[in-house]
């Protein structure tokens, strides 16, 4: 029977368990029967049974293997098994799991943060609107499309009433509002003055109450009405449902709150968050300087009924016929082309600029993601080798290669899925940090960048795509049969693997070199921007925006208030100079105006398009802008708004080449203006602009409007700021709390793109370099581990510690050298795209590039020397014995 037990042992365990005893019983009975017939019968029984048992055992094994292979119906169950196995493996190797997930989280987080910002600024439709894709902004443009003009009320009325291709058109403009509920402090808010059909055209529904009734915009309401934003309703009105119908002070008059806009709706211009809307019929009160006839001050948008081309053609016709009867200036009347842009909350040119700038940052983030993917791929490949025994056993037990690949891919995708989750957390934190970056202009400027469903989808898709891209390689290589034998012999398989690993490492190093170069260039640009000669000195200057229009003051009261305010500010200790200005250089975009120089020697009697601003006496002293000829405005000239001007050097050169500008005369519209001084050129819009022709006119304080008070302080600007605010409230306690800011901060916003880019690419560069250094370190440590025996032999044969260090370090430095060479080559090409943002720093700037290369070399050396030293310190005898 002993021989028969051996035959039974050939069967699969499962079969043995079920039938082993029975088989033994049957054979025992057969054997007993054969014995009765004699030895020959026993012999025949054995001869017949043995081969049949072997054959049966073999067929049983084959059947068991086939059963182990996946049946279509159980794919889901298999996936569940894979996931369970994956979870167990990942929990058992927390270090490995954390390393891969962290790498992916950094990469995905970088990409998702940038995408989130782009999504919020450029892609997301206006919240709360119905069918936002049919909404278009409508603009009059010059035939070359370069300049545009806003519309007067009468022009808007023509568009509204005549354009058949539009399903309604609405108009709006900004208005500064000071809103004060009874028995509370007032607040200055950004408001919009809108046509009564504004909400209807947008298709926005009120959250509470109602919007404006669609009525004749030119007829004043019996009682003026106001709609407030959801945000303001919560902040200032305590989210009180009874607030609707209540009256509040708006710019000194009483308005009735008729409705609350839905959450998220802040008007049609995203960067400016509107907090309240008043109808056009309130214009005589809130915008008394404008009118509802010919003054061009309204922005128009409409809802398309026909396709955009037909609407454009119809509106172009309408603008052309309008120009023949319009009393506007010749320049504006030439604006007969219609431009229709999607109403996404941003002007078209700003959208394009943001997209291309984001493209640069997105490229940098993509590099980090690729580095992270390559890094994870190396980790996965290293682990696939250490798991080869497990995989081989599973293959021997009948798991097909496809099954094993699916298992490994499941693991990879779970890792990358976790990485995507981590990446979203990074993106949440990243966008929160970006939101805190102060933006130029009004306090109302703010962006909501937080990720939405689109960003989440994007992050997951990107992570899984990268997971498949970088996970399929290790999975394929790890499941190759007989590779374990190849590895042991150190033959072709090992060489191929290390070549791929090296390729991945060099790729990571090269990509991080590009990132570093980019970050260094932005840092240089930031540096260059900080030392750029602005032409004026913002240090120590405070600025206070005062909108007397929103205080509800009439002309006389506004002028008296501004005069008193400046008088009181002058007496504050430490204040050395002060002046009013209609706008601030580098903080606001100046208006432009057409001037005709009337020269003693008329070389070319042409019109010049120049920037202009109104400034008060003391302006040039306050900002320390040197006058190169003539004088600045006198107090009387400001008081009378005299027909005098100070011109910039560039305007002086262009209008009167080779002649003295002081004493010359300019024509602006119908007025003849005498030049009394020439001021040095200053920056007005951006730091890298060429010197501009600029016309300073006396500021009209008698007309209520928004002006800025600039105050130069000698020391302790914070104390002076509080004194300035107190001075204003002392004149009229009902005024909203004033916001006094440091002018240098406003100016600093001009460097915002460079600052954002330097910080973002700096962080990305540091992250990318860290990942690449870890990759290099890991590869060397692995190589050292694999060569322990060889290094031990070398040491035993008399190699010094230094020789061993050199041997390993050489391997690392070769990789780093290849990385830096390829990286610099790529950087030469890639940084060309940055030219527009570098403020004149060359994309090949040697200081930036060598600084980047320096950092790179230091980190690469560290990642190389540490494993090399460890290799050298290893005990040679121990190493020999262990193998």
């Amino acid at each position: 029977m002993h021989g028969f037990d051996r035959l039974i042992a050939l069967f699969p365990r499962e079969f043995r368990d079920a039938f082993g005893v029975e088989m033994r019983g049957v054979f025992a009975a057969q054997l007993a029967a054969a014995r009765q017939r004699g030895r020959a019968a026993v012999c025949r029984l054995w001869m017949r049974t043995t081969p049949r048992m072997i054959g049966a055992a073999w067929r049983e094994h084959r059947a068991a293997r086939q059963r182990a292979r996946p049946r279509r119906a159980s794919r889901l169950g298999e996936l569940r098994a894979d996931l369970r196995l994956t979870a167990r493996l990942l929990i058992r190797r927390p270090g490995f799991t954390a390393a891969v997930v962290a790498a992916i989280a950094i990469g995905v987080g970088a990409v998702a943060t940038i995408f989130s910002a782009v999504n919020a600024i450029v892609l997301r439709p206006l919240p709360g609107t119905r069918d936002g894709s049919a909404l278009v902004g409508i603009e009059r443009r010059s035939p070359d499309m370069r300049d545009g003009a806003s519309a007067s009320y009468l022009l808007y009325a023509q568009i509204r009433d005549r354009a058949r291709s539009l399903d309604g058109a609405a108009a709006w403009s900004r208005v500064a509002l000071a809103i004060r509920p009874d028995a509370r402090d007032g607040a200055s808010i950004a408001g919009a003055i809108v046509s009564s059909n504004y909400f209807a055209v947008l298709g926005v529904q009120p959250f509470r109450g109602r919007f404006f009734d669609v009525l004749d915009d030119t007829r004043p309401l019996a009682e003026p009405e106001i709609v407030v934003s959801f945000d303001l309703w919560q902040r200032q009105l305590d989210a009180d449902a009874a607030a609707v119908g209540r009256r509040v002070h708006v710019n000194g008059a009483r308005y009735r709150i008729v409705g609350v806009a839905p959450p998220g709706f802040r008007g049609v211009f995203t960067p400016l968050k509107i907090d309240a809307w008043v109808p056009l019929s309130t214009q005589p009160h809130v915008r008394p300087q404008r009118d509802l006839t010919h003054a061009p001050w309204l922005w128009v948008f409409g809802r398309l009924r026909a396709d955009r081309d037909r609407a454009r053609a119809e509106l172009t016709d309408l603008f052309s016929s309008w120009a023949q009867t319009s009393p506007e200036s010749a320049v504006i009347r030439a604006y007969t082309s219609a431009r229709l842009t999607p109403l996404t909350g941003l002007p078209d040119d700003a959208r394009v600029a943001i997209l291309s700038f984001s493209g640069v940052l997105m490229g940098a983030a993509m590099l980090v993601l690729l580095i992270a993917g390559a890094n994870a791929s190396s980790l996965l490949a290293a682990r696939a080798i250490s798991r080869r025994r497990e995989l081989n056993i599973r293959a021997a037990l009948g798991a097909s290669r496809g099954r094993l690949i699916r298992q490994l891919l499941t693991e990879t995708l779970v890792l990358f899925g976790l990485g995507a989750g981590g990446g979203l957390a990074v993106a949440w934190a990243g966008t929160a940090a970006l939101e805190r970056v102060p933006l130029p202009g009004d306090a109302a400027l703010a962006l909501e960048l937080s990720p939405d469903a689109r960003v989440v989808t994007f992050a997951i898709v990107v992570a899984l795509a990268v997971g498949v891209l970088f996970g399929i390689g290790p999975a394929l290589r790890g499941t190759k049969r007989h590779l374990s034998a190849a590895m042991r012999d150190g033959s072709a398989g090992a060489t191929r693997r290390s070549r791929i690993t090296h390729l991945l490492i060099v790729g990571q190093l090269a990509a991080s070199m590009v990132l570093l170069a980019t970050a260094a260039l932005f840092a240089r640009a930031l540096d260059r921007g900080a030392v750029t000669d602005l032409g004026f000195n913002p240090a120590g200057v405070l600025s206070l925006r005062v909108n007397t229009e929103s205080f509800g003051y009439d002309d006389a009261r506004a002028a008296a208030f501004l005069t008193t305010l400046r008088e009181r500010v002058t007496t504050i200790p430490g204040v050395t100079a002060s002046a009013y200005a209609s706008l601030l250089p580098l903080a606001e975009t100046p208006a432009n105006v057409t001037v005709t120089p009337r020269a003693a020697v008329l070389t070319s009697p042409t019109e010049l398009r120049v920037f202009t601003a109104g400034v008060g006496d003391g302006y040039f002293e306050t900002l320390q802008i040197p006058l190169v000829a003539g004088r600045s405005f006198s107090t009387t000239e400001i008081a009378n708004t005299a027909d005098v001007a100070v011109v910039s050097e560039t305007l002086s050169r262009r209008a009167w080449p080779g002649a003295a500008a002081v004493g010359s005369v300019l024509r602006v519209g119908s007025r003849a203006i005498t030049v009394v001084g020439v001021a040095r050129d200053t920056k007005h819009v951006s730091l890298d602009e060429p010197p501009a022709a600029f016309l300073y006119r006396p500021i009209a304080l008698a007309r209520p409007s928004a002006v800025t008070l600039l105050v130069r302080t000698q020391d302790r600007p914070a104390a002076a700021a509080m004194a300035v605010a107190a001075a204003m409230r002392a004149i009229d306690p009902t005024l909203p709390r004033p916001a006094v800011t440091a002018f240098a901060d406003d100016v600093g916003h001009a460097l915002l793109p460079q600052r954002v880019a330097a910080v973002v690419t700096g962080i990305l560069g540091a992250g990318g370099l860290t990942l690449a250094a870890i990759g290099l370190y890991g590869a060397l440590a692995f190589a050292v581990g694999a060569r322990t025996r060889e290094l031990g032999v070398r040491r035993a044969l008399g190699a010094r510690e230094f020789d061993v260090v050199a041997l390993v370090a050489w391997q690392g430095l070769r990789l780093a050298g290849a990385g830096i060479a390829i990286g610099l080559g790529l950087a030469f090409v890639a940084t060309r795209a940055l030219d527009a943002y570098l403020l004149g720093v060359s994309p090949l700037d040697p200081i930036a590039l060598s600084a980047a290369a320096g950092i790179f070399i230091v980190v690469a050396l560290a990642a190389t020397v540490i494993p090399a030293r460890r290799a050298a310190r290893a005990d040679p005898i121990g190493a020999l014995r262990s193998n």
């Binding site: 035959l7 069967f11 079969f15 079920a18 039938f19 029975e22 088989m23 033994r24 019983g25 049957v26 054979f27 025992a28 009975a29 057969q30 007993a32 017949r48 049974t49 049949r52 048992m53 054959g55 049966a56 055992a57 067929r59 049983e60």
Partner: protein
């Protein structure tokens, strides 16, 4: 569960023999070997391995079932596992017998038998 009898047909000769052996009474493994051998006139001598491979298949298909353990009739005093024909097994066996009868009655079969005997 409704079983479609023709799906099981034709039976393999060895399956047919086993089902036939179980049709009269429940049997244990060695009893099956003996019955099959007797019925086939000693032509089919089953080895334990293939016997239980077939039994395993017939069990999985639901044609036979275990009938519990009984004391061995032999001298070793072991308990043996007995097998019985299931209702499905009986119906499949009957269908196979009917099929074989049709085959034998077929003119082609008769003609071949006459010509070659």
């Amino acid at each position: 569960m409704a079983h479609h009898i023709p799906d099981y047909l034709p039976l393999k000769p060895i399956d047919f023999e086993l089902l036939l052996a179980l049709s009269s009474e429940d049997r244990h493994g060695y009893g099956l070997v003996q019955a099959v051998s007797a019925h086939s006139g000693g032509l089919i001598e089953l080895d334990p391995g293939n016997l239980y491979r077939v039994i395993k298949r017939l069990l999985a298909d639901g044609l036979v079932a275990e009938a519990g353990h009984r004391d061995a009739a032999g001298d070793d005093g072991e308990r043996r596992r007995y097998y019985r024909l299931t209702t499905l097994g009986g119906r499949v066996l009957a269908a196979e017998i009917a099929r074989l009868r049709d085959v034998l009655r077929d003119p082609l079969t008769r003609d071949a038998a006459r010509r070659w005997s």
